[in-house]
Symmetry: C2
Subunit: 107 residues, 2 copies
Amino acid sequence: MSRPVASADIFQAIADPTRRAILDQLRSGEQPVKQLAEPFEMSLPAISQHLQILCNAGLVSQQKSGRQRLYRLNPVPLQQVSEWVARYEPFWQQKLDALGDYLEENP
Amino acid sequence: MSRPVASADIFQAIADPTRRAILDQLRSGEQPVKQLAEPFEMSLPAISQHLQILCNAGLVSQQKSGRQRLYRLNPVPLQQVSEWVARYEPFWQQKLDALGDYLEENP
DNA sequence: CAATTAGTTAAGCATTCGCTTAAATTATTT
DNA sequence: AAATAATTTAAGCGAATGCTTAACTAATTG
């Protein structure tokens, strides 16, 4: 069998820079594959596979429109990431406060 | 070579669930490797390799203390993730608002 | 000093990943 | 109906990933 089998894991899905760039691009509205592929020096199938992974992770949805397929951003699963990382915010505040104090005491 | 070569990329570093769990564990303070490894059904070298990847990503630092090596959380690079994902918050707000409206209109 | 403890390095292996090219599918245009 | 356009499916490939076991290094203890 050949792959883009469901990663389905959000963290895995956003680990790849191309996929993050695709998501970034989709913030300006739904777009067909060809347009999404434009900024990348990569074959169309490669992009298609990335889109499938994003789809499996629930980060995009697609809708047929004539002979193109419009992909649309679904940001909801990113909340999972947001929530995870938010648990660390107190810690980096602390770190930065410590740095601030240090700089104050050692001008 | 079979190294845990420097990913150095934060998103890659947090893509693995074991590594995220290690980070989670480190929020309760610096810990030696053996203690960090305890919750996992995995060999010590495996954990050591994960720690090295976290180290390369700047997410942890280590400090020798006798014959143990204490690992400590450094959350600062996670801000990168936080900033990236924050750009999507307006979008999921929008999504949830739409859902809310829908539910109000279709009780 | 020999034995033990804590951890890392090294080497190897199976699986997954990101990509490619070629072929297939589906819809539109001529 | 034939040609073209948009995209996916398929197959394959090299590199990276996550793990293992075995061997090594360094600090502590008996």
